[in-house]
Structure formats: structure tokens, C-alpha cells
Amino acid sequence: MDSTICAVSTALGNGAISIIRCSGAEAIKIVNSVFLGKNLEQVPSHTIHYGFITYQNEKVDEVLVSIMRSPKTFTTEDIVEINSHGGIATTNKILEVLLASGCILAEAGEFTKRAFLNGRIDLLEAEAVGDLIVSETESSRKLAINQITGSLSNKINNIRQKLISLQANIEVNIDYPEYDDVLVITEDILKPTLINIIEELQHLLIDSKNGKIIKNGIDVAIIGQPNVGKSSILNDLLEENKAIVTNIPGTTRDIVEGKIFLNGIILNIVDTAGLRLTNDQVEKIGVEKSKDISKTADLIIYVIDNTTEKISVDLQNLQNLGDKPVIVFINKDDIKTKLDINKLKDYQVIFGNTINEFGLEKLKTKIIEIFNLEKIETKDFSYLSSARQVSLVSKALMVIEESLNNLNMGISIDLISIDLQNCYELLGEIIGETYKEDLLDELFSKFCLGK
């Protein structure tokens, strides 16, 4: 049985909606498992349903889901299409949820390929589409390789080289155990090398975050209690009246987004509904959404009204954010201070007000400082550019971490070599290379063996 694949079918960006498509025998089951609403496994084919994508009991987004059952679908397999709110963060989050729930990320052109392999496209169309498939896989392969020219592919190759040397040596130890003049790879030799590989893979992932910043920008969420001036701060930053600003607490019931450029990097700023307990249904959803957004954001601007005396709720909210980067913006500093600033001494605090826009420059400087934006080279910067690459490196990292763990537990090296091979193959997938033959060549070019 084929695996169930998923991918974002609309262009990633800031369209009004984006569509995530799943195809495969498990498609309906998997989506149903993360869907809050009707039981999708029991709904008729070719119908649309309203609900939420949830993950670990938290709502990710409000969505419309189309259910199309095999065989009358594009791929002839069961297909589910999720219409979500546009925006990179939300779309990626839904994709991540599906991947975590059993879907596999589709390769470029894989939906078309499946449609074709499953005979969905008729004989007359077949040859024409055949050409298309070739061009799709070929060009996407080339594209992938071009994308990772220079330092990134060098980095991956270096790690693979280390793995293959290690592996070749282990294989020699296994296939020629009677030779005492070949270095025997012991735990003591293996451990530091594995640790070194782990560090390098971690670096790749950290770099990929910089890469993500360059490509997708920094997601900034403005949060705080109602009526502290969150929307005004957004408007000032955007220098336009996008958010509806009133003095009635709870005016921003939905999410308001805007973008600014800071040192060539995009800040995706999201204004959220004030955090408070509410009975208003619409506002309730907004508040929930605010919480979700603060989880996916790269940076939180937490706004506190200077005139607030008791900030215990704010302190609680701040604590709930965990170790995410936070800037506390004390708004309305033109009015006399009532709050006890000492309670915020663990946070980066900026005073300002939205009447004369004082403090906004300081806010921007702080963001530049936190993300090291002055040092990020936007030119000639190599990074893991696709979710596929990041996911492969993450998997490779996981495999090596597990193998180090197994080694520490006393698992013998002939088994550890399975992990090394696995890691090598995963990294090879990024740069489109294969495994088996080069290993044998390496083995016999490096070691002198045989009767």
C-alpha cells in the first residue's frame, strides 16, 4: 500500500487562504485524527466540512475540509483538501501537524505522478503528461541541487565524508576481523565523532532558522491585556491605520497582520485580541487564537499599560510564554507611572507611547539586537531552504542522537553501523546521491586487505 502524502498546494505566501492536500489510503483517517468537527470518516464523498485543525488539544486554525473518496479523485486515492487561513506560519503548522500524524511530505510532482501511476489519466493524455513528469522531477532535482550550492552542500558532504570513513572502517573491522593492523573502531573513537556530527547537524538546523528568517521573515506577535494599545503600536509600526483602534476593550476580535522591513528582513507583525476571559463567542475565538499565535511567533511584543497598578496577570501571561524572545513594551509613559517596574527586571523593557511614537525606534533597535539582524548576510547565504531539507536533516540528527544513545547503552558497533548508514542516506537524499557503491570503493581504496 502506498504511503499517504501531503503538501501545500497553493503558493506559500500571504494569500487569503491556502490549501493543504493529502492523498492516500490513510488521508481521511489522518486528517480526521487532527480535526475538530464532524467525524470525517463517516461523511459522504465530495463534501465540505467546517471545523478546526487541532494538535495536542490546541486549535491550530479554523478550516474548511473537502473530503473526496477514491476512486473519483485526481490521484484516484482518497484525497482531503484543507482550506486554511493564508499565512506561512499557520500553513506550515498544519503541514507539520499532518506530518506528525502519519503523512509523508510529497515529493515535487508526486500528486501528478500518482494520478498517472494509478491510471487516472487516460492513455491519450499519458504520453504528454509523461514528458511533464520527467521535466518536473528533473528540474526540481536540479533546482534542489542549485539551491544548495556552495557552503551548504560542502557542509553536508563533509558530514557524509566523516560518516562514510567511519562506516568503511567499521565494515573492514567486520569483514576482516582477523587483521590486527587495521584501526579497530571502538566506542571511544566513535563517540567523539558522533558528538561532532551531532553538533554539525545542529548548526545546519540553526542556520536553517536564519535561512527561514531571510526567506520568510520574523513572525512578531503583539499581545497583552485588552485596551493597552496593542493595535496602536501595530499601526504606528505600519504607519497606517490597518487595525481598528477604539478605546472599547476587546475591539480587535480577529488577527490583524502587517509587514515592515527592518534591515532588509521582513517582520510579519500580528496584532492579537487582548488576553482576557470573555463570554463573547467571537471574541473567545480571537483570544484562543492569540494564544496560538504567540506560540508560533518568533518574537513577542508584550504590551503593558503604564497606568496598571496590578500586573500579576501580566506576569502570569509572560511566564506562560516560556523562553520565547519577549520585549515588554510599557505603553502610555506620557501618563504617570503606577506599575512597579522592579517586577519586570527579568525582561527586556522599553518605555514608550503611541501618541508621540516615542519608544518605537528603541523597539526596532531591540529587535535588530535580538535577532542579530546586522550580522545576517542576506547575500550568498546558504541554508536548508525547504521543509524537505530541514526534515531530512532533523531526521538525520535524530538517528545519530539515537545511535549515540544506543552506543552508551552498550549496543555493539555492527548495529550502530546501521544508524550511520541510515544517516548517510538521509543526508544523501538532500544532495541527490546514492550510497552502496561508493562505500565499497572507499573500503578498498583505503584499506589493504585480502589473502
Binding site: 491510471g119 513528469i133 520527467v134 567486520i174 593492523d181 555492527d414
Partner: protein
């Protein structure tokens, strides 16, 4: 004379082939140039080794002879990689007199088998189907299937320095005509090279200067039906010595005199078995090379100098040998030589080892481009089984890569071809974790039974073993650990302060530091499990995660193996496929998508196009 099946060649492949067809009820003739050379070991005096030892177990599981005969003729036995559970493998020093003698006795017991002395000259073919064989003495023998296991005897040349002799190993006559007969039938021939080192007189070696290597003190056996009774303390020793700076200088100074470097040798040698001059040239930085001194037999005094194979002239060989510690006064009984021979291109074979060109013609062993007795024997067995199945209209018996090293070997040969004598290595088996020494019978004996080479008695032993394994696992899963079943010394040794008794014995055994044996002996369970059963169960418990990973990979491969490629496919009709891939596909004619994807030079894109084409052309109505 008429036979069902004729086997040409009495080496390790020929013996297994003839044995299999005879047991399966076919009137068989084994034609060999010299009966006294049946199952001869012209090179190493050893059976087994890494990967190869597991092959011997597989041969035994399927009902072949090699393991059984090796068990009766070894003079030293060792478990290699004993601390690496997935790749443990037996290696024996086999007595060069006893092994062939017992093999011949085994063959002579077979009522369906006739052994005939003679040199094959040409194959008789009618309408692209095998009809018989003509010998050099003019006699013709007719048969329905022919198995060729001619080893290195096809147009073989022995080279020592600038001396070139047309000869097979051991000074046997070479077969010049057969190679020509092949060519005229459209076979592509490969020219390969291998070599063998000197034999030294035992009494001339100073054993004080070399390091002794003893056999294991534990009893082992290749065969699942052998109860080992040999005296572990009375095994022959092997010894280790090293090349010296002098050795390297002698070789470097005389390099041009070596047949390898004078241009006399045209054949491709193997990386797996290089000559000493090769090693010194390719690894110039290496100060010394390890050599093994191995006894050939308890009945004569030859010591085999493993690692010192060369094609240098006699006088240089004398100097080389004398430069080795312990061999200063060594007397060479036989000089080393290189041997060059013809082999057929294995890409022209089916996975059943039947020729793609001539129906009912099978080939096995070195003629197919492999090296090694075990590789040869396993192919002989498969060729024997498949010739029998062909004549009785049964589907060919093909072992998959996830089932046996034998499957890996044949698939590699037939799918990838070879440019040098092919040697099995554990690293060639992507699923080696499940292709182990301990489970060869669990993997293959059922097949042996169904084929007809394993009798009821031996099969029942397997049933019993399986039941015992299940029983042990059941008991381990259904008993919680307690102070009564975990010995106190063990707890002390493990520095466990308290014992969490919520765990079952099974869960307890998943910890790497725990050995099942440590508590099976004294626990509440009866001590009735053999070491073999404990080993298999322990492996399953400890490496469950790794085994599961391997099975996932196996599943991926099997899925592609199920995508069959029709025999009548015309690769020219597939558009956009790369021309190199097309040529390779035409030659190999893979049976399924998985096999196609393993062909070197066929890229993933080509495979996709092939799959699409198949869907379009052959599954129209699905």
C-alpha cells in the same frame, strides 16, 4: 548415453549441483577431468569466514553438503566477530585431504549419480536448447539439462614471472575448446585473474618468531544437523607474521619481473584478493602487511602463506619468503602463481542461474565470475535445484536479498555483473541484520523441505526449534522478575540497589547489560533451552528496534519486487529513458522494478518512466 542432468566439473559448485539433482530424483552424471580432484581446495585451506560462513549455514539449511562435510574435516574452528551479534560467522581450517575424501564418499552414496572422468569439449545445442555435451575424446552424452561448473579451467593460463603455462590449477589440463564453444553461441566472455600463494614446509619454519592463533574453546558446527564432538584442545594452530622493509625492497626492485606488472596478465584481478606486489604498490605508505601461516592438512606438511600471493619468478619468491620473520630458512614446496581464466558475463544469466541464451543450460561458480568455495557451492546448489525444477515444470527457486546471502550474491551477479572475481562481504547485504548465522535454518529450512532436499526428520527438528523459541518468548513475557528468578550475584554485578518487580523477564532482557543466560540457569523456568535458541531469542529481544527498522526497509524493497516487468517488454518503446539505462535494461532484462533499480547506470528517473510505461501498456484494464 542419456541422463536427465549432466554436471560438468567436480569442484565445490559441481558437487552441490550433482548432489541436489540426484537427491531430487534425476539421473545425473558428474563429468570431471580427474576424479581424485573432486572438491579440491586449490587455494585457501579454509571454509567459511565473514559472510561466507553464513553462506555455508544457508547451504546446509537448504539441504546442501558443504556444512556437513566441513564439520567432519576441520582442523581448527573459530567464530569470527563473536562480539558483534549481527555478523558472527564461522571459519574453519579444513583439511585438504579429508574434505575432498568425505565429499567424494557422500557423492558415491547417491544411487542416481554417476561420476565420469573426461574433458568437456563443446556443448550440444538444438534449437537454442541444451541437448548434451561432447568430450574431447569424442564421446557424446545427452541430457535434458546441463550444469557447467568449470571453475577457472576455461582457457586458463598460469603465470609465474615471465613463464606462462596453459594449465588449470594443480597442473590440471585447461579446457580451451569449451570457451570457443561458448563464444560461438553468443556468450560474452570475461577475462579474470586470481592467484595463490606459496606452500612452505612446516619443519622449515621457526615458530618462535611468529604469533600463534588458536581455535575457539567452544564447540561449533556449520551444519544444523551436526552434534560437534571434536576435541577443542586438539586443534591445529595458525600463525601470524608480517612483511618487513626487506620484503618491500625486494618486491619494489623486482616489480618488472612480476607477471602482473610486465604486462603479461590481461585479466582483471580482484580487490578482495590482491597479490602482495599489488598491496605494496597501492599502499606504499604501509610499513608492513599481515600474513597468515595456515596448515593445509594433518596428513602432510604444507603451510599455506595467506596474504603472499604473487606472480614473481621463482628466484624472487625465494628471496621474498626468506625476508619474513620466522621464514628465514623456509623451504618453498609450491611456488605462488597467478592464474588467468575465462568466465561468462553473468549479466547473461537469469536469477535461476539458467542461461538467457540457451534453454536448460545452467552455470555456477567461478565460471560466473565469482571467487571462493562457498560462493561456488551455493550457486551449484541453486543451479542444481533450478535445473530440477525446470525439468519438472516448477517455478524457479529464487532467494530474495532479504532471505539469504545466497540471494544477495546471485542478485548482485545477475543484476550488476562483475568486472573482477566477486567475493561476498557482509557489507553487500543491506539486510544483514536479519541474515545471521543463528537463524539460517529459520530462514531457509522450510524451503529445503518443500524443494525436497530436507527429509522429514531434519524438518521436524526445525519445527521443534521454532516451538521452543516461541515457548521461551512466551515464558519470558509472562513471568515478572522477582528475587526468585534473578540471581543475587547478578544484581550485585549490575549494581542494582532495588529490583523493580513490575517488569517481565522479557523486558528485563532488553537491557544491553543483561544476558539471558545469566538468569535462565537459575530462574524458575526450566533450564531446557539450547544455546542456539537462547542466542536467537536474545537477539530478537535486544535488537527489536533495529530489526523493525530493517523489516521496514525490506517491505519497501518487496513492494517494488511485486511490480513485475513482463518478459516481452520492448525497452525501445519507452520514451525519454536515458540510452545508457536502456542498454543496461535490455541486457539484464530485470524481472521487476526493484531489480531494475539496482542496475548500475539506471537512475531513479528511468525507473519512474519504466513504471509509468508498464502501467500504461500492461495494466490498461485495471
Amino acid at each position: 548415453m542419456n541422463y536427465d542432468i549432466i554436471v560438468i566439473g567436480g569442484g565445490h559448485a559441481g558437487c552441490e549441483a550433482a548432489h541436489a539433482t540426484s537427491v531430487l530424483g534425476h539421473k545425473t552424471a558428474l563429468i570431471t577431468s580427474n576424479i581424485s580432484n573432486i572438491a579440491d581446495m586449490p587455494c585457501n585451506p579454509s571454509i567459511g569466514g565473514t559472510a561466507k560462513g553464513i553462506v555455508v549455514r544457508e547451504i546446509d539449511a537448504l539441504g546442501g553438503l558443504m556444512g556437513k562435510v566441513a564439520d567432519k574435516s576441520h582442523i581448527q574452528l573459530k567464530m569470527l566477530n563473536n562480539s558483534k551479534p549481527a555478523v558472527r560467522s564461522l571459519r574453519a581450517q579444513a583439511d585438504k585431504i579429508t574434505y575432498p575424501k568425505i565429499m567424494l564418499e557422500e557423492l558415491q552414496k547417491l544411487s542416481n549419480l554417476e561420476i565420469i572422468e573426461g574433458m568437456a569439449k563443446s556443448i550440444v545445442v538444438k534449437n537454442s536448447k541444451i541437448a548434451g555435451i561432447e568430450l574431447e575424446n569424442g564421446k557424446k552424452y545427452f541430457c535434458n539439462a546441463l550444469i557447467l561448473t568449470t571453475g577457472t579451467y576455461l582457457k586458463s593460463k598460469i603465470l609465474i614471472g615471465n613463464e606462462v603455462k596453459e594449465s588449470g590449477p594443480h597442473g590440471e589440463k585447461t579446457s580451451n575448446f569449451l570457451s570457443e564453444s561458448f563464444k560461438s553461441l553468443g556468450f560474452e566472455m570475461l577475462r579474470l585473474k586470481t592467484g595463490t600463494p606459496q606452500r612452505i614446509e612446516k619443519s622449515s619454519i621457526n615458530f618462535n618468531k611468529v604469533k600463534a592463533e588458536e581455535g575457539d574453546k567452544t564447540h561449533w558446527s556449520f551444519s544444523f544437523d551436526t552434534t560437534p564432538i571434536y576435541d577443542v584442545n586438539k586443534q591445529e594452530k595458525c600463525y601470524i607474521t608480517y612483511t618487513t622493509k626487506d620484503t618491500h625492497k625486494i618486491i619494489t626492485d623486482n616489480l618488472k619481473k612480476s607477471a602482473m606488472y610486465s604486462g603479461n596478465i590481461k585479466g582483471t584481478g580482484t580487490r578482495y584478493c590482491p597479490s602482495i606486489e599489488d598491496k605494496i604498490v597501492r599502499f606504499a605508505d604501509k610499513e608492513r602487511h599481515q600474513l597468515f601461516l595456515e596448515p593445509e592438512s594433518i596428513y602432510y606438511n604444507d603451510i599455506y602463506l595467506q596474504g603472499f600471493s604473487t606472480s614473481m619468478p621463482y628466484d624472487v619468491q625465494d628471496k621474498m619468503v626468506k625476508s619474513l620473520p620466522g621464514l628465514e630458512n623456509a623451504k618453498i614446496l609450491k611456488y605462488a602463481y597467478a592464474i588467468e581464466y575465462d568466465a561468462i558475463n553473468p549479466l547473461q544469466l537469469k536469477l535461476s542461474l539458467e542461461s538467457k541464451l540457451i534453454e536448460n543450460l545452467f552455470t555456477a561458480g567461478q565460471i560466473n565470475g565469482t571467487s571462493g568455495y562457498e560462493e561456488a557451492a551455493s550457486q551449484g546448489l541453486i543451479a542444481g535445484i533450478n535445473s530440477s525444477r525446470k525439468l519438472t515444470n516448477k517455478e524457479p527457486f529464487i532467494l530474495k536479498r532479504n532471505e539469504a546471502y545466497i540471494g544477495v550474491l546471485i542478485d548482485d551477479l545477475v543484476t550488476k555483473g562483475t568486472l573482477e572475481p566477486y567475493r561476498l562481504l557482509t557489507s553487500r547485504a543491506e539486510f544483514r541484520l536479519i541474515l545471521r548465522h543463528d537463524n539460517a535454518d529459520l530462514r531457509l529450512r522450510e524451503y529445503g523441505y518443500k524443494i525436497g532436499l530436507i527429509d522429514n526428520k531434519r524438518y521436524n527438528k526445525l519445527i521443534e526449534k521454532k516451538a521452543n523459541i516461541n515457548d521461551l518468548i512466551y515464558q519470558l513475557k509472562n513471568n515478572k522478575i522477582s528475587k526468585t528468578n534473578i540471581p543475587e550475584e547478578l544484581l550485585k554485578k549490575l549494581e542494582y540497589k532495588t529490583l523493580n518487580t513490575g517488569y517481565t523477564l522479557y523486558e528485563f532482557a532488553t537491557r544491553p547489560e543483561i544476558k539471558l543466560n545469566d538468569y535462565l540457569k537459575t530462574n524458575i523456568l526450566e533450564n531446557k533451552w539450547s544455546p542456539e535458541i537462547i542466542e536467537t531469542v536474545e537477539f530478537q529481544i535486544k535488537y527489536e528496534g533495529y530489526i523493525a527498522k530493517t523489516y521496514k526497509e525490506v517491505e519497501k524493497m518487496l513492494k517494488l519486487e511485486n511490480k513485475k516487468i513482463p518478459k516481452d517488454i520492448n525497452y525501445d518503446n519507452i520514451k525519454n529513458i536515458a540510452s545508457e539505462a536502456k542498454e543496461k535494461l535490455k541486457k539484464v532484462r530485470p524481472l521487476n522494478i526493484a531489480q531494475a533499480s539496482r542496475i548500475s547506470g539506471v537512475n531513479p528517473v528511468d525507473i519512474s518512466l519504466l513504471a509509468i510505461y508498464l502501467k500504461k501498456e500492461y495494466n490498461k484494464n485495471e
